[in-house]
């Protein structure tokens, strides 16, 4: 392993929920010295971080600190942006995500993603969920699979009588839960959520947050949010990113990574404290 400095989170066993017990803390993503740049601009630099199974990890920080860039590296969505350069290493279950033989399509198949703006396909509710499994060859018991995904996304009761209706007829919050159902219908191992509730009203937001707590039993979740209260409510661990300006070069850096309660009540770094107490950002 590298000798780079890793900020090890301290999880207070008594305080955290049972899923996060120390003996179960299996590392899913092991990130070393990650630097991402778009052309001449560096988005994040030198990030070291570990993400654990069945834990909700929140990424918080001010605008432009590279939160989205970071999370999009985890399922190689950044490959789709021309000119992206990635240095450092991301190990996913022990193997290098960016090794030459790795097929990004296969990575995305195993690591699902939900986006900031709900983006259902202009198809029926049923087809939105069924399309992924169908294309990926999981055609057996498709109806059951769709129902299970919609139930997991806490949407089934609201849509079971109108599965053939166009998904665009749903409300914003329902659309976002449909996107979550679509993502889990293909049974990913990890779910990445890039500001999933930023365009939703408080009621829809709380529905998504409840959902995350339930999904944690089966999935490893990483959520990017600019809403600190949301991170405090849902996350077990929180990573605080900030923007570092140094000799005209601006880039996002990881400032502090720890148990959520520690980040919000007793942060070790002055910058984290300033941010969570609302002094900037």
């Amino acid at each position: 392993m590298t000798e780079s400095f890793t900020i090890a989170p301290v999880i207070d066993v008594a305080q955290e929920r049972h899923e996060a017990r120390a003996d179960e803390r299996e590392v899913v993503f092991d990130i070393h010295d990650l630097t991402v740049s778009y052309g001449p601009l560096t988005a994040i630099s030198g990030v070291d971080l570990q993400i654990y199974r069945n834990v909700i990890t929140a990424i918080i920080g001010p605008s432009g600190c590279g939160k989205s860039t970071f999370i999009r590296c985890l399922n190689r969505m950044n490959d789709l942006v021309p000119g992206t350069r990635i240095e450092g290493q991301i190990l996913y279950q022990g193997s290098d995500l960016y090794a030459s033989g790795v097929d990004p399509v296969d990575v995305r198949r195993r690591i699902g993603m939900v986006f900031q703006r709900a983006n259902p396909f202009p198809k029926s509710i049923y087809d939105n969920v069924a399309w992924g499994p169908r294309v990926l060859g999981m055609r057996k018991d498709l109806d059951d699979r769709v129902e299970k995904a919609l139930r997991s996304a806490a949407l089934w009761d609201e849509v079971k009588d109108r599965l053939k209706k166009n998904a665009l007829s749903l409300s914003g919050g329902q659309q976002q839960r449909l996107c979550i159902a679509r993502a889990i219908a293909v049974e990913p191992e990890v779910l990445l959520l890039d500001e999933p509730a930023s365009a939703l009203d408080p009621i829809a937001t709380s529905a998504i947050e409840d959902l995350m707590h339930r999904l944690k039993r089966e999935y490893t979740l990483v959520i990017v949010t600019h809403n600190m209260q949301q991170a405090a409510r849902v996350a077990d661990l929180t990573a605080f990113f900030s923007l570092e300006v140094d000799e005209e070069r601006r880039s996002g850096v990881l400032v502090e990574y720890d148990a959520t309660s520690k980040i919000f009540t007793n942060p070790s770094d002055k910058r984290t404290e300033d941010y969570v107490t609302g002094r900037f950002g």
Binding site: N75, R108, F115, N119, P122, G132, A183
Partner: protein, 282 residues
């Protein structure tokens, strides 16, 4: 005269000038439509659509064989140009790296601007010299004209498909081609059809390439594409060269039919486009 007043008058004058120019453009269309209708409407009858051309010197006859021929030529041309055009557009918007997309784009625009007589001569040299005139040579020439139109129109609608839909599909671990077939094409099929209808309307009236490739006179209904197919544009051209005033009237009538088809196709395309736009709107 104050400067302000002068500006106001200038503004008013230019507004009037622009309005007049727009009215002139509309008037030109109206005059064309009216004069073609006035000269040709008299010859339009049931027989005109159902009977083939009369032999030289004999009265009566219709344009049935030319209608069938034009329909076949355009159908065949569409069958060639539609898949190639759509795939070209898919390549340019979904797959091509920028350094390839830009030059290919330029070349397609050049192809769209190529004079149709040049395309006619090219296809003549390629498929007619050493063989005979044929329906497929004519259809190929028309396809060359349609290809850039379809590719351009398709590209425009593909670019309207929100990037978030592509991301949604790719994030499921679906390959790009399946994303294109399953998400992008179904979303843009209306716009692609619109572009195709407009290309068909354009190709149906093209004369120059058909003079080289499919202009041998025949007075029966032909469906064999290995032989020259009678068609509307060439019929209009040859009849207008004849001394017989009855044939002149038939030429005008055929022109009327062609024009009506183009106008209806354009309206249909507009309706299609409006419908597909609504489907994409959130």
């Amino acid at each position: 005269m104050s400067r302000d007043r002068r500006r106001r008058i200038m503004n008013r004058a230019m507004e009037v000038l622009a309005t007049v120019a727009a009215l002139v453009a509309v008037a030109v269309l109206a005059i064309v439509v009216l004069s073609v209708a006035r000269r040709g409407a008299g010859a339009v009858s049931w027989d005109f659509f159902t009977k083939p051309q009369a032999l030289f010197g004999q009265p009566g006859g219709g344009i049935a064989n030319a209608l069938v021929g034009t329909a076949l030529l355009v159908l065949l041309a569409t069958a060639i140009a539609l898949p190639v055009g759509v795939l070209t557009a898919i390549y340019l918007t979904e797959f091509a790296p920028r350094r390839l997309a830009v030059p290919i784009q330029v070349m397609i625009d050049v192809l769209a601007g190529l004079p149709t007589i040049v395309i006619g001569i090219f296809v003549y040299a390629l498929l007619v010299v050493g063989h005979t005139q044929s329906g497929y040579a004519g259809a190929f020439a028309l396809a060359v004209i349609m290809l850039p139109l379809i590719a351009r129109a398709t590209q425009e609608v593909l670019l309207l498909v929100p990037a978030t839909l592509r991301e949604a599909s790719l994030a499921l671990g679906v390959r790009r081609w399946r994303t294109v077939v399953g998400v992008i094409l179904p979303t843009s099929v209306g716009g692609i059809l619109t572009g195709t209808v407009l290309a068909v309307a354009r190709a149906a009236g093209e004369t120059a390439p058909l003079l080289f490739t499919s202009s041998i006179f025949a007075n029966t209904v032909q469906t064999d594409v290995t032989k020259a197919l009678p068609n509307i544009p060439v019929l209009i051209f040859t009849y207008s060269e004849q001394p017989d005033p009855a044939l002149h009237q038939q030429a005008w009538a055929a022109a009327l039919v062609l024009m009506a088809f183009v106008l209806l196709a354009s309206l249909f395309a507009k309706a299609l486009l409006a419908r597909s736009r609504r489907k994409l709107a959130r």
